[in-house]
């Protein structure tokens, strides 16, 4: 088990890369660090690897500080975005290197090189030098060299970022299966929501050096702690409508600036909604939680189709309602034009509610609706 205790990292005087990070990496877990570019993901991995020293705070392994343990004495296998392969060695020799360094026998080295290169689809490249490979091929060799040997922890920094969609899809599944089979402890960074949700036993959302939320994928997706996590986890991102609360007996109705009702929740479900002037209250919806209204739908708002994105298996209509835009998933065959007026049906009780970007409640059924 690894623990980051109040880890702070500053570069120079001004640039803060990590802010007081409290994070535990459990044994045998696949932990994904998910965040935008510049969030501090690589810095966090480098601190776990011992390559970067935190400005303050502590890093523990099984309860003991390892701040003074140099990288080569930490049993961490790394794959970084910039590859760092041995250019004078062939792909096969690059892969075999960590095994030979540990004194493994020739037969076992060959067996593992063949297995890993098969999984990564680079078996046909074993004789080549890294200089003759494409970026995606080099990245797979770097990943292979990291996962070929047993390690206490695997630190993988966007290891499939340079691969095309098809290969990414294949390799992320292989990686997950391999980690399960080996009971490996893995920390993996990504900027892709799908990748984070697909791979992580838990996902840590990092933004501007701050840990926004850590939890199992279902928590982040269904119970995001704030509007940033809500809009960052999920593909397409969650959309929001600004509302004002109106108390009506044991319910609170949430209406747009034009007075159109968006949601109604039990008063007790929103008891931690603070009454303060000027606070920003938003209802959040995932694109598959709303739909184009049919006749007889009672809770529908009219809006204008601003953009239609075709994803092949479905379309996403971006519908302008008041000053906000809402993503709506529509079936592939739907005929819909930009500029058209449509009614959007909202689930009055299945909503995510935020006040000043903090989550107030998620999907609580209200009485009498």
């Amino acid at each position: 088990m690894y623990e980051l205790k109040s880890v702070h990292k500053r570069y120079g005087l001004a640039k803060v890369a990590l802010r007081k990070i409290e994070l535990t990496v459990q044994d045998r877990e696949f932990l994904v660090i998910y965040g935008p570019a510049g969030a501090g993901k690589s810095t966090l991995l480098n601190i776990l690897a011992g390559i970067t020293r935190p400005t303050s705070g502590d890093v523990l392994r099984n309860g003991v500080s390892i701040l003074r343990v140099p990288p080569e004495k930490r049993d961490a296998a790394m794959a970084f975005e910039n590859y760092a392969l041995y250019s004078h060695l062939s792909v096969g020799e690059n892969l075999a290197f960590p095994l030979k360094a540990r004194g493994l026998g020739r037969a076992e080295v060959e067996e593992r090189v063949s297995r890993i290169s098969g999984i990564l689809g680079i078996s046909h490249l074993l004789e080549r030098r890294p200089g003759f490979l494409s970026g995606g091929q080099r990245q797979r060799v770097a990943l292979g060299r990291a996962i070929i040997r047993p390690a206490d922890i695997y630190l993988l920094d966007e290891p499939v970022g340079h691969l095309d969609a098809k290969l990414r899809h294949k390799i992320r599944a292989e990686l997950k299966a391999l980690a399960e089979d080996l009971s490996a402890t893995v920390v993996f960074t990504t900027t892709s929501s799908r990748e984070a949700l697909a791979l992580g036993d838990r996902v840590a959302v990092l933004n501007a050096g701050k840990l926004e939320q850590i939890g199992v994928p279902a928590d982040l997706y269904h119970r995001p702690a704030n509007a940033f996590v809500a809009s960052f986890v999920g593909d397409p991102p969650m959309s929001f409508i600004s509302v004002e609360p109106r108390r009506q007996g044991d319910r609170v109705e949430f209406v747009t600036a034009d007075g159109m009702p968006v949601a109604a929740l039990a008063a007790e479900a929103v008891s931690n909604l603070r009454e303060e002037a000027g606070s920003k209250i938003q209802v959040g919806f995932r694109s598959n939680e709303v739909r184009i209204a049919e006749e007889g739908d009672s809770n529908a708002l009219r809006g204008r189709v601003d953009v239609i994105e075709n994803l092949g298996y479905m379309k996403i209509a971006l519908v302008g309602i008041g000053g906000d835009q809402v993503s709506v998933s529509v079936p592939a065959g739907t005929r819909l034009g930009v500029g058209e007026t449509v009614a959007i049906a909202f689930p009055r009780d299945a909503v995510h509610l935020f006040q000043n970007a903090r989550a107030v409640t998620h999907a609580v059924p209200s009485p009498g609706v």
Binding site: K166, L197, N288
Partner: protein, 364 residues
């Protein structure tokens, strides 16, 4: 704005031919994505349109006028990568006005055009600032405004949104799309990302090996791919391929796969007849299901289930073929579990076996 036409367009670099005599037409105001893997010829094609590469053979026309010998700067083409270099010492206003001043447009007209585009690009409040201190998104919008203020004949975008996170991708994509809707530029977007191509373009031109494989509206490219390459390159998660036998049935045709037989829908009869005994079948992950009744049910072993929350991706090994299927979030079979996989024949695609190696070449 201009229409664009290419005739038997060829690009050679020394002895290597990158583009093999392609023909296409892009209508005035149309948004076309050129989609393909690296080395397919898409960037060479774009650079020939821009005038950055010499045309080896064939012709390019803007509004019917041959532009082979027109220099790049005289073609009035705007490019997305111009967005990176803003002049640091002058205001945003002057950055946007720069191309107009170079063209000796009078001051009043410059002012009108700069303010007009600044408003459309939501830059009005920034006009008096210097580029330093802008967010990267704002700087990108200023760069785009500067490229667009000249009212270009065609606007070329070369993978402007690769390497962004999921949220930024949506933002940028929607911004580009709304730009097209607002201004109706003729736009060409070069990408290897099939999702961007489908989401953005009016039509998608799929290229591989220096040739156009298909040029059609997104729904067509997705649902009725012309060949196995297009089927394999378009779609996320990727389509499933499997070798099959093709056999005549009383009154029709069927495919055989691992000892099972699936009667083909009528739309595939002609294809089946043409391709003979050995076929390459393809089915999208959305048209496979677990446990449902179907004429073709296969037993497979679950390799892994990815829980994406809004849907689950289940990878199932049937013999030596790994199928990916999209399932409801409540369907989450465990690794190693044996499950029945059903194919919906209504959405099956069939190609000649000879195209199988084209599919393989994508992953290399």
């Amino acid at each position: 704005m201009a229409s664009i036409k290419a005739e038997r367009l060829v690009k050679r670099y020394g002895a290597v031919q990158a583009v093999h005599g392609i023909d296409f037409e892009i209508a005035d105001g149309e948004f076309v994505a050129i989609l393909g893997p690296s080395g397919c010829g898409k960037s060479s094609t774009m650079r020939m349109i821009a005038g950055l590469e010499k045309i080896s053979e064939g012709s390019i026309y803007f509004d019917g006028k041959r532009v082979n010998d027109v220099r790049a700067r005289d073609r009035n083409v705007a490019m997305s990568f111009e967005s990176y270099a803003l002049y640091p010492t002058i205001s945003i206003y002057e950055n946007i006005a720069f191309p107009l001043r170079s063209a000796n447009v009078d001051n009043r007209e410059i002012d009108r055009q700069v303010r007009d585009i600044a408003e459309k690009m939501e830059l009005t409040s920034l006009l008096d600032l210097k580029p330093k201190g802008l967010s990267s998104g704002q700087a990108q919008r200023v760069g785009l405004a500067r490229a667009l203020v000249r009212n270009p004949a065609v606007f070329l975008l070369d993978e402007p949104i690769s390497h962004l996170d999921t949220r930024q991708r949506y933002r940028m994509r929607r911004f580009i799309k709304s730009l097209h809707q607002k201004f109706n530029y003729t736009m060409i977007y070069v990408t290897h990302d099939q999702e961007e191509a489908l989401a953005l373009a009016d039509r998608v031109m799929v290229m591989s090996d220096g040739e156009i494989q298909q040029m059609a509206v997104p729904d067509e490219v997705y649902a009725r791919p012309k060949n196995a390459f297009v089927a394999g390159f378009v779609g996320e998660p990727p389509i499933n391929f499997f070798d099959c036998g093709v056999v005549a049935e009383p009154g029709g045709w069927a495919i055989e796969f691992q000892g099972r037989r699936l009667v083909l829908p009528e739309r595939l009869h002609a294809t089946a007849q043409q391709i003979g005994a050995g076929g390459l079948a393809a089915i999208r992950p959305h048209f496979l299901s677990i446990g449902e009744e179907s004429p073709l049910r296969l037993d497979g072993k679950v390799f892994i289930t990815e829980e994406l929350q809004d849907q689950n991706l289940v990878m199932v090994d049937v013999g030596d073929i790994r199928f990916t299927l999209v399932a409801h979030p409540s369907v989450m079979p465990k690794r190693g579990e044996i499950v029945p996989v059903s194919i919906d024949p209504a959405h099956l695609l069939l190609f000649p076996r000879s195209q199988a190696d084209k599919v393989g070449s994508i992953a290399a």
